[in-house]
Amino acid sequence: MQFIPNSPLKKTMLNELKLHDINDLFSDIPQEIKIDNLRLQPGRHQQEVEGHMRTIAKQNKSFCEMPSFIGGGFKPHYIPSAVKSIISRSEFYTAYTPYQPETSQGFLQAIFEYQSIIAELTGMDISNASLYDGATALGEAGLMCTRITKKKTFVIPENISWEKKSIITNYTKGAGITVKQVAYDAKTGTINLEELKKTIDDDTAGFYLENPNFFGVFEDEVEEIHSILQKNQSLFVVGIDPISLGICKSPGEYGADIVIGEGKSLGNPLDFGGSTLGIFACKNEFLRQIPGRIIGMTKDHLGKRAFCMTMQTREQHIRREKATSNICTNEGLCMLAAATYLAWLGGKGLHELSTRNFEQAQKLRKKIIEIPGFSTVFSGVHFNEFVLRCPDAVKVHHHLLQQGMQGGLLLEQWYPKLKNCMLFGLTEVHTDESIERLVSLLKEVD
């Protein structure tokens, strides 16, 4: 065996235990449920497995072979080698959750720095050490709003992904929370304020606003939304794309109480959608209600600066069924990638990257709507994703695919009103050549 050093010592060790057969160690398993073998293939040599994986990898078409312009919250970004190098340090990636702080100071300090950067980025006071992803962070935010306000309705906008809608329902149903939806304005693509006013009332624990929203459009009436919520003593939860915060105000500046988001874009590869990174930040007054781990700075008994997990009485390993969340394992390494990535970029670098993403999408959108048959759907200002109506979206999709390119996300299956609409997304990694190629292929579709 390749990873079991004591295999050859089985007999010696059994002798020391005064046993004869390895099966003696399993005598407590009743005979009727014992099995002899697993019906799996026998173990294979590493070299053979590598060859097998190469064959399988060829059955995928990666971004490098097939440029894609899909939106929907996940997009490729450039990952600096520096980030890859740091998260490949096995002291980091093979460590457990830092239960023993004296021997985990490195990771703990990195988490403290991540929390600091996320707080700065979102305009919040504090951040946790990550949740599973942006969608489950929304679920946790919904629960937290009810814990704080004791009210049992949570309101979400219609213009978020169907996945998030399903997840928030699953997360909040156990607590007896009702989830209500507010329609978007068909013209701008942003939340319909009149509808919002009608929906938010005294019973509303919180409202979730995604900015930019699922259609890529920036929600610009944030001040008005904030004041509607304040009047009803409802909490303001804002979902962000961290890259957009290089140009966009932080939600803290417009009154958010809790900020969540998908942080995968910060130094983590696409990986077919996972592993992900759930960002969760909030105001300091809600510290005791926050889900997940938090790292604090303290001192050792000689007075030296030190870091440790803190406020643990919120957590499942101490509080069991009274914990603020069941989360234990979070997304540590993705969080480390995000911290390294943002340190590598710096504030200025993030602003420039964000601007570039914005401009790329403006450029592409302009080029596509010049093609006869393609038109704008929403008038709102968009970030690096946008919705366009095509003559025949399915036809466009298949034509591009045949030509080795992936177009926008087909929206009709989730939003029946958006017939023939595609959600395009692009970032700093999309080259001028691939943009030109997309445009010329779109022109070919009749």
Binding site: K10, F63, I70, T94, Q109, Y132, I247, G274, S275, K299
Partner: protein, 487 residues
């Protein structure tokens, strides 16, 4: 012996005089949204960033540093080949929403991994969507609710679990809206069947159990437990955190469990990443398949696709399809090990645990509550050390750090006083086990003051965790504020 580097590493924002150049933000957005102030993340050179995080890495213990015997955590070696392949462009640069005809390789891996996990656990269907063990539990409990509601059985609002259960079990049950009923264990450290009979009723939704349990003891009455639970109309849930004990030996599906979650980041060797990403697939018996999260992966004539058409499904539990990079590594690991290798894994994991346990209790310095045979982990008590020398479990743990060894899990399960919960896994050599045993024995005989003040040789010495709670400093901005208040 392991000695960590000791750096006085400043925070990122203390590394340099912050180069606050005058920088004019480009205005691109409407005024209501335009950022006007540059984000205060320091501007560092790549050389500085690398050196900073490199220094931090040198002050962190990983499985490649040495033995990491945290009980119920299965800290085993993470094969390099799994790591390398997961970074290949053909896997890493795949968009979750790209046309499924262009992602056949990854879909195949996911489909085949589901089949493999079915064989390993004796279940009929799996979903790879949950991001970690606790999320697997939550998913299993949502499936439990969906099942009872499907049967028009709306009365079941209780989840029963033993007092040895992992903290996530009651937390997940509460999050799913259930009342938690905890039953005490017997003198043998196993499920109290008489007690179980008393609390099972038409209000019971499910019984959650780890087998072997967190004391490392196999629940030999499991088929009787399953019979009782099913007779009451409830489901039996398997927490797979301890699956490393029984692969190729017994399967939860054959024991009568209806729902199972596994931790790919434990049993199937994917790295813990300092606390994730993990993966907590959920397996069910045939009659529960309709409730699994969507999409499901289906195979027709060698073509794989996502199927969303399951009207009774609980829906989504996590965005996309799961932590695919973790799933990929577990798949490679199972190919490497094969059925024979997985069986050998469990055999040696159990052998290693029993070997350590015997040497430690033969010394009479530590006590083993409950019967003697253990599976892959065991719990010893420092109660005798505490009453005679004032040395507590936490002191032993901290003193182990001085010898360059990672401590076991402490103070869990809660029913053992001054508990040390040790899981060596199959990855450790006999020599390493012997060193660990000898060190534990040596510590028990050391001058108590040396042990109670430990650690002495680490980056920092014993940490003021109470101070961290009393005066929370959670960001560098809060640190600045604390400094201002002090002056």
């Amino acid at each position: 012996m392991y000695h960590s580097a000791i750096w006085d590493e400043p925070l990122l924002n203390e590394l340099e005089e912050n180069k606050k150049e005058k920088y004019v933000l480009k205005t691109v957005l409407p005024d209501a949204l335009q950022r006007k102030r540059l984000i205060d993340i320091p501007h560092l050179d790549e050389t500085q960033v690398i050196r900073h995080f490199f220094h931090l890495s040198q002050m962190n213990y990983g499985i490649e540093s040495g033995i990491y015997p945290l009980g119920s955590c299965t800290m085993k070696y993470n094969p390099k080949i799994c790591e390398e392949i997961s970074h290949w462009e053909g896997f890493a640069m795949l968009h979750p929403y790209q046309d499924e005809t262009t992602a056949q390789g990854t879909l195949r891996i996911m489909y085949e991994l589901e089949q493999m996990l079915c064989e390993i656990t004796g279940m009929d269907h799996f979903s790879l969507q949950p991001a970690a063990g606790a999320q697997g539990e939550f998913t299993g409990l949502l499936i439990t609710r969906a099942y009872h509601e499907y049967n028009k059985d709306f009365n079941r609002d209780e989840v029963i679990l033993p007092d040895t259960s992992h903290g996530t079990n009651p937390a997940s049950a509460a999050m799913a809206g259930y009342n938690v009923i905890e039953i005490p264990s017997t003198k043998e450290g196993t499920v109290d069947i008489e007690m179980l009979k008393k609390v099972l009723s038409d209000k019971t939704a499910c019984f959650m159990l780890t087998n072997p349990n967190t004391l490392g003891i196999f629940e030999s009455e499991i088929t009787e437990i399953a019979r009782l639970v099913h007779k009451a109309g409830a489901l039996l849930y398997y927490d797979g955190a301890n699956m490393n004990a029984i692969m190729g030996k017994a399967r939860p599906g054959d024991m009568g469990f209806d729902i199972v979650h596994l931790n790919l980041h434990k049993t199937f060797s994917t790295p813990h990443g300092g606390g994730g990403p993990g993966s907590g697939p959920v397996g069910v018996k045939k009659n529960l398949e309709r409730f699994l999260p969507i999409p499901r992966i289906v195979k027709k004539q060698n073509t794989y696709s996502f199927n969303y058409a399951y009207s009774d499904s609980i829906g989504k539990i996590k965005a996309t399809y799961g932590n695919v990079s973790v799933i990929l590594k577990a798949y490679i690991y199972i190919l490497l090990m094969g059925g024979d290798g997985l069986k050998e894994t469990s055999e040696i994991a159990v052998l290693n645990a029993n070997y350590m346990k015997k040497k430690l209790i033969d010394s009479n310095l530590y006590q083993l509550p409950y019967g003697t045979l253990r599976k892959h982990e065991f719990v010893i008590s420092c109660e005798h050390l505490r009453s005679t020398k004032g040395i507590r479990a936490v002191d032993v743990a901290k003193r182990l750090l001085d010898y360059g060894l990672h401590p076991p899990t402490v103070y869990f399960p809660l029913i053992v006083k001054e508990a040390l919960m040790i899981e060596p896994t199959e990855s450790e050599s006999k020599k390493t086990l012997d060193v660990y045993i000898d060190t534990l024995l040596r510590i028990a005989q050391e001058d108590p003051s040396l042990v109670k003040d430990a650690p002495h040789n680490t980056v920092v010495q014993r940490i003021d965790e109470i101070g961290a709670v009393k005066n929370p400093i959670l960001t560098w901005n809060q640190l600045e504020k604390t400094k201002e208040q002090a002056t």
